[in-house]
């Protein structure tokens, strides 16, 4: 009876087993090499010659990690399903691009990707670290060795026990494949981008540690500056990509949901953005030495903390992402690493960083009035507070659970209410900042410089409202609508939106203004203003797209034409004959209020999934986004509904039920009695149920039945009225009750139509923001000759900032 599951399976090729062992060996090897590098650098103080092998060990360790990734990739591409990780995430039918992307779709692979990204940045930065190299490498290698150790336990190179017998390994014919909802082009580009961002955070952290250990908290800021910009730009791009991915595939029409996984990436970004601004002040003014040391550590630390929080299962109840539980030893290493780096870093900061800060920071030049340093301080404060608030928010379930009880969670609306208090001041600072110089200016002078921009922004805000009222650009929002405000109040939507639109426009206009002003003098230093402009565009897009969003839901049957918002929606057809085709689309013809026509093509297909009860067919849907210049039409379709009742309903003789469905006829079903025809127990015999049906067309009788055929019972599909089909499920001989399944004659497609104005700005803003960040990074790339900051900053109304006295590099001991 029991068939040998391994019968007929091919034996694994020697190379594939070898590749797995090499991949695993490379991870262990990298741990050894990183530890060796740490050891050599530690001893190098008295034996300078060790610097060379120490660097070599680090380089080889990094290359080993990349090599391990290559092994995993080769095994994926060649369908080596004897490996648990590959069997779980790939299949022969998986397209090549997804086989490669499958490397990072789960826990093990994403740790490997993190390690590799950090290793890449380690290799890139190592040569430019100068006198910091010793401590920088020790810190960096310490981190990579720890991730290596996590990977050693959480290894993707595990061969399944089930396919091993008598020393031989057999290759399953197929894997379970990548989760269908992930199979989208974003899975190829989003994770590598955001993990490069995460990897780059190690650079900032290692620099801060090295600066404190070498007691030279000044030189590092110039060196770290371009990397800060790269880290923020890449991580920011990754975040935006994640939002766009969610928007395009998840079907709820939004970009950001304050999910723990999103917050874990956002908090480090905020700290890194704060660091960018702190570094500017230290380079120009020699101040904020301690602040920058702290700000450089926080992005990395908050990310390690967030990783722990999301992978440990502590947030299991809250997140929509479900996490596979991590290997116990790997989790212990992660926890130990988190405690060690956090404790170590703060101890180092309080023990040495603050002292260095007092020693090295230049005295404040107290000038009355608004100056750039003051604005930077305020901006950094806002960004850091925001990061801290979000970190507290995502930890809230854990914090409250620790106090006893079942815990509590921060919902999206509460995040919005809290965040806005930081958002508006931050935006106002970003709008004023371009016109403020290091030299303090009086209030009147400041107003004189900003008044033009302010007036233009007010004007544009008014104009934007008129434009949005235009039917073609159409915001159909009614004036009476409200949203939840703070302290349980209700804010009128439109005035509130006006405030938000204004702050975004104010920032956008101010920064464009400044870029234009500066373009006459110098080109490259406008990266910061370009970023701020991009940020304003991006946030404006998010605000308009969400705030003025409108939504209507409907159920559409083939042949129906339904009015949704001002759009007429007609079901047309399926694009592919077979529903298992990944490319199948359901076509809906849509006519807009201005007579514009388009076809919405939401995706629908069914895939087989193994469950406890065998193979089940599961639907997968993709929304359709119709992009237009002024708005998106977001058309989300859910899997068609065929069954009226999810579970068959039991009828006793004489029992009556009425089914009311909007848009369809009401129908009343009365079960009279069981019937039987034919020879009991032989093929052709029918067990039926006599039903009386009442609908708008009168009354009739229906007789669904089960027919005995060879191999079992076959139910009939019996029409009930115009819209329904009945299937008899089960008959109880004892009490003569029946189970009845009711289905729609034509499937109903539940659809949501969203009107989302100005969503295109999200894309444009993302692009400009990233461009600005990379422009700055390029302009601030570290050269042996430090850039003359003053030359790029401001017209020479201010004296060149004094050179920091302690700027001379401290010779390596």
């Amino acid at each position: 009876m029991n068939v040998d599951p391994l019968h007929g399976l091919p034996v694994a090729a020697p190379w594939s087993l070898w590749a797995g062992q090499v991949g695993n060996g490379l991870i262990w090897g990298s741990i050894g090499l990183f530890l060796l590098s740490i050891l050599f650098w530690a001893l190098q103080k008295n034996r300078p010659a060790l610097a060379k092998p120490a660097s070599l060990a680090f380089t080889l360790g990094s290359v080993a990690l990349l090599g391990s990734m290559a092994c995993l990739g080769a095994l994926f591409v060649n369908d080596q399903f004897q490996y648990q990780y590959i069997w779980s995430h790939s299949d022969t039918k998986t397209p090549l691009k997804y086989k490669i992307a499958a490397i990072w779709t789960a826990q093990e692979g994403s740790f490997l990707l993190w390690a590799c990204s950090a290793a890449i940045f380690g290799l890139l930065t190592m040569r430019g670290t100068g006198a910091y190299r010793r401590w920088y490498t020790i810190t960096y290698a310490g981190f990579l060795a720890s991730v290596g150790a996590i990977l050693a336990y959480e290894t993707p190179f595990q061969i399944m026990k089930e396919v091993t017998r008598a020393g031989k390994v057999f290759v399953p014919q197929f894997g379970t494949g990548m989760v269908p909802s992930l199979q989208n082009y974003w899975v190829i580009i989003h994770p590598p981008t955001i993990f490069l961002g995460f990897g780059s955070l190690t650079v900032l952290f290692a620099y801060a540690v090295a600066a404190m250990m070498t007691k030279n908290p000044t030189d590092w800021v110039r060196q770290v500056r371009p990397w800060t910009l790269v880290a923020t730009a890449v991580l920011g791009l990754g975040l935006c990509m994640g939002g766009l991915w969610a928007y395009e595939t998840l079907g709820w029409g939004g970009f950001w949901a304050w999910d723990p996984v999103e917050n874990v990436s956002f908090v480090p970004w905020l700290f890194a953005a704060a660091l960018i601004h702190g570094v500017i002040v230290q380079v120009a003014r020699g101040r904020w030495v301690g602040t920058n040391l702290l700000l450089a550590g926080l992005p990395f630390l908050s990310f390690v903390y967030g990783t722990f929080l999301t992978r440990s299962g502590l947030l299991d109840q809250v997140s929509v992402h479900s996490f596979a539980s991590m290997d116990k030893s790997a989790l212990t290493i992660l926890k130990g690493f988190l405690i060690l780096v956090t404790g170590g870093f703060f101890a180092l900061y309080f023990w040495r960083g603050r002292k260095l800060s007092r020693e090295f920071a230049t005295a404040p030049v107290t000038e009355a009035g608004v100056n750039r340093e003051g604005l930077y301080r305020f901006g950094i404060l806002m960004l850091s507070l925001l990061a801290f608030v979000i970190a507290v928010g995502m930890s809230w379930p854990v914090i409250t659970a620790l106090r006893g009880g079942k815990g509590a969670r921060i919902e999206e609306w509460l995040y919005h209410q809290v965040v806005v208090w930081f958002f508006i001041p931050t935006m106002l600072v970003m709008a004023v900042a371009p016109f403020v110089s290091w030299r303090a200016m009086g209030r009147r002078e400041l107003i004189a410089r900003v008044i033009n921009v302010f007036s233009v922004s007010i004007g544009l805000t008014g104009f934007s409202l008129i434009a949005l009222k235009n039917p073609v650009w159409g915001v159909h929002t009614k004036l009476g609508e409200t949203i939840a405000g703070p302290f349980g109040s209700k804010l009128p939507l439109v005035p509130w939106m006006v405030v938000l639109i204004f702050v975004c426009l104010f920032v956008a206009v101010a920064n464009v203004w400044r870029v234009v002003e500066m373009s006459r003098r110098t080109r490259m230093s406008s990266g910061g203003f370009v970023s701020h402009f991009g940020l304003a565009v991006l946030l404006g897009g998010l605000i308009l797209s969400r705030g003025f969003e409108q939504k209507e839901q409907a159920g559409i049957q083939p042949g129906d034409t339904v009015k949704m918002l001002d759009y007429t929606v007609t079901y047309r057809d399926m694009s592919k004959p077979e529903l298992s085709n990944r490319d199948n689309k359901v076509l809906f013809d849509i006519v807009g209020p201005e007579g514009e026509k388009f076809t919405a093509r939401p995706g629908l297909y069914y895939y087989d999934q193994q469950t406890k009860d065998g193979v089940e067919s599961k639907p997968q849907v993709w929304p359709h986004v119709e992009r237009q210049l002024s708005h998106d039409i977001y058309f989300n379709m859910r899997p068609p509904v065929i069954e009226v009742w999810e579970t068959p309903q039991r009828f006793k003789p004489g029992e009556t039920r009425t089914i009311k469905t909007e848009g369809l006829e009401d129908i009343t079903i009365t079960y009279a009695e069981p019937t039987m025809s034919g020879q009991f127990g032989s093929p052709g015999a029918k067990f039926g149920a006599k039903l009386f049906i009442k609908d708008e067309h009168g009354q009739h009788e229906a007789n669904p039945y089960l027919e005995i055929v060879e191999g079992g019972l076959r139910p009939s599909l019996t029409e009930l009225g115009h819209d329904f089909l009945a299937v008899l499920g089960r008959m109880d001989a004892a009490d003569r009750s029946i189970d009845l399944k009711l289905m729609f004659k034509k499937p109903i497609y539940p659809v949501d139509l969203y009107y989302k104005p100005m969503t295109g700005l999200v894309w444009v803003g993302t692009g400009i923001l990233t461009l600005g960040g990379l422009m700055s990074a390029f302009a601030r790339r570290f050269r042996r000759q430090p850039l003359l900051e003053g030359g790029l900053e401001e017209e020479p109304i201010e004296p060149e900032p004094k050179k920091v006295p302690h700027d001379a590099p401290v010779p390596a001991t």
Binding site: P5, L6, G8, L9, W87, M160, E162, V163, F170, P172, Q173, F174, T176, V179, Q317, V318, V320, S322, A324, S325, P364, G374, R377, L381, S384, L385, F388, V389, V392, W396, T400, G405, K406, G407, A408, R409, I410, E411, L414, Q417, V418, W421, F422, Q553, G555, Q609, Q610, T611, K612, P619, R638, P639, V641, E646, T647, T661, E662, L664, I748, P750
Partner: protein
């Protein structure tokens, strides 16, 4: 003389107190059926085991009705305004977000917890049949 850091610290402190106060008074608590019945509020998170036979979906009205059993063994009917999450049929645990209304739990949002897809499948199927 150094007023900057002091002002900074005061602003930061006040902001944090305000935020933590806001979180503490507005966070949405996880509750049991008994707690849901005794406490008001519209942001309760009610977690429980989904009784699959009880699912009824009236999607033209976009209303989903089902029952869940909490860890204390109490059962309650949940009326969810909105669509059926596609993976509801696989779910064993559900978190419904909302509050009590007319004796049942009126839910605005459903968080569905699926058993991890590939973890516990019993014997693995290795060859195509």
């Amino acid at each position: 003389m150094k007023k900057g850091p002091l002002v900074t610290a005061v602003i930061a402190g006040l902001a944090m107190i305000a935020v933590i106060g806001a979180f503490a008074s507005n966070a949405s608590p996880y509750v049991t059926v008994a707690q849901a019945k005794s406490s008001g509020g519209d942001h309760l998170h009610l977690a429980g085991e989904l009784l699959k036979d009880s699912i009824q979906n009236d999607f033209k009205k976009r209303t989903l009705t089902f029952r869940i059993r909490d860890e204390e063994g109490q059962v309650i009917t949940v009326v969810h305004k909105g669509d059926m999450p596609p993976n509801l049929a696989d779910a064993d645990r559900v978190v419904a977000v909302g509050g009590m209304k007319d004796g049942s739990f009126a839910s605005r949002q459903l968080i569905v917890k699926c058993p991890s897809k590939y973890e516990e499948q019993g014997p693995k199927k290795l060859a195509r049949t």
